[in-house]
């Protein structure tokens, strides 16, 4: 196993073949493998044995953070730094401040969902070994792929090629780094 190799790429005919194959790769015990589909195929997460994404917690923190910043900003401005009585209302008119608090909560949540997704997916990654494969260009069109990295403890170039072909993989290709 030379360090020049990134891993193997195998093409599957249909989303159904891909999903069946993903179940077999998962059951074989591979960890560092991935499926590539032009659209999100439902059920693939279970077929690959993926855990639930933690993005929801990131968004929760972002949304609460946004709301807190919103209320604190208005409290600080209206009671500490620039206390002016307007139409006889209390300096800390929290009811009126709820609206900006709410929209800043949405902003905090939205920013953290996009940035959190980028972080979890390690995006942007402009250069990736898989882009060395010519056929991989079709992953965003109508081809379905499984890639297995050579970093995986079970990886053995010869045996893994045979395994991928036994579960229905076509055009199996060694992807270089």
């Amino acid at each position: 196993m030379s360090s020049q190799i990134y891993g193997l790429l195998a093409r599957f005919e249909s989303p159904e073949d891909l999903m069946k194959a993903a179940v077999k790769v998962r059951d074989k015990g591979f960890q560092k493998f991935d499926c590539h589909t032009p659209y999100p195929v439902h059920g693939m997460d279970d077929a690959m044995g993926l855990k639930r994404s933690i993005l929801g917690y990131i968004v929760g923190v972002g949304a609460v953070g946004g709301a807190t910043v919103g209320m604190l900003l208005q409290w600080y401005v209206s009671t500490v730094d620039y206390p002016i009585v307007i139409s006889g209302k209390p300096l800390f008119s929290w009811q009126a401040y709820m609206i900006i608090t709410f929209v800043l909560m949405v902003l905090g949540g939205a920013l953290s969902s996009l940035l959190g997704m980028f972080h979890l997916n390690r995006m942007p990654t402009f250069s990736h070994p898989l882009f060395n494969s010519k056929i991989f260009e079709k992953a965003t069109d109508d081809y379905f792929f499984i890639s297995i990295e050579c970093e995986d403890p079970l990886f053995d170039e010869k045996k893994t090629v045979d395994f991928l072909s036994s579960i229905g993989g076509k055009d199996i290709e060694v992807v270089n780094k």
């Binding site: 059920g43 401005v77 949540g109 939205a110 969902s113 997704m117 990654t125 882009f131 109508d142």
Partner: protein, 455 residues
Amino acid sequence: MSSSAPKEVLIKGNQTFGSVTEKIAGVVEMKNSKAWLAGFGVSLMLAGLLLVSIAYLVWEGTGIWGLNNPVGWGWAIVNFVFWVGIGHAGTLISAVLFLFRQSWRTSINRFAEAMTIFAVMCALIFPGVHVGRVWLAYWMFPIPNQMAMWPNFRSPLLWDVFAVGIYFTVSLLFWYTGLIPDLATLRDRAKSKVKRFIYGILSLGWRASNRHWQNYELAYLMLAGLSTPLVLSVHSIVSTDFAISLLPGWHTTIFPPYFVAGAIFSGFAMVITLAIPTRKIFGLEDFITVTHLERMAKIILLTGSMVGYAYAMEFFIAWYSANPYEQFVFMNRAFGPYAWAYWIMIACNVITPQLFWFKKIRTNIKALFILSIFVNIGMWFERFVIIASSLHRDFLPSSWDYYTPTFWDVSLFVGSFGLFFTLFLLFIRFVPIISIAEVKAVLPHAHPHLKEEDK
């Protein structure tokens, strides 16, 4: 990106995954058609008119408009509310229909969202220039400054700055999130190095990985969940610009839901106005089918009826309140100097949508196109009626006046259409106007169901 496999066929023409890519990406990759060039030329000229009008306005001041003493808010604010309202359909389609698992939205959400973003851009121009001294517009934002002065957070006008600004930002984030996989498709299909590079940067190295799709879909869901209350709040907050004042005709509690219904009503009309020529010119009839248009017509019928109800309820409350000022404003609205505008509004917003009870009209493309334009006109007049007719009869009869727009009022409005269509036509040429990845996911064979022993 829909839940289970849809039972009905949403996309016609027996499409495969490959043909979907070919057809939609083909719109971006084809040579410029004459129709596009002609449309772009006209739009660009109108956008130029907008620039000239803004430049003259900044130079000379808001005196070039037809504003007078009782009517201090004229076309600029009418146009602002009109454009913000248009935007609402895009977010409704992309977020609310997504949460309700309405798979048919996939054919129209991309360009409806683009419409939102461009409409909100046009909207933001108007309050920006309406402040008069444009170079002081930064006073609207809570920025520490040398005057040690802060904005007033109890004012609905400031809520509006935040609401519309954040609405624009979140719509843009949502739109871009949806675009990432499609930009990767364009990157992988690009023939030239420059295109490959630009789409490569924009698609952030997307490699269609299922580990990515998992987080991506959750992010999309979160954005939809956050945008849903946001879209309902934005026009409610815009309505508080009026409702929190003490002016009869503005000071009503029905305004927030009434404005939101009106916004969705006008926005869907604009989506239909844009969708019909676009699907025809680019041959996308299999993707945006008559069924799609018919469903939008049904939403127009629903929201149009809500708007009609709100008009009636305003009159009822004016009578029931026994407040003579309130009663005067509404009688004057329907029978006073602006009666012509009021009845245009009623004809376009109350009568027009009721025609959509008939399936023959809902499925007739020409009728849909014409009626959608009527709705657009009616909704512009609604804002004009609310603003001008409530203001022009002041509490003191000696200050009563009649507001007439000048050339520059009209040129700013027409120019904003130029900006809108310039951006929209550029969007058609550089970005897939229908979501490629989402359409693939609603094809009948998209989601396999494994047997128990295969799981």
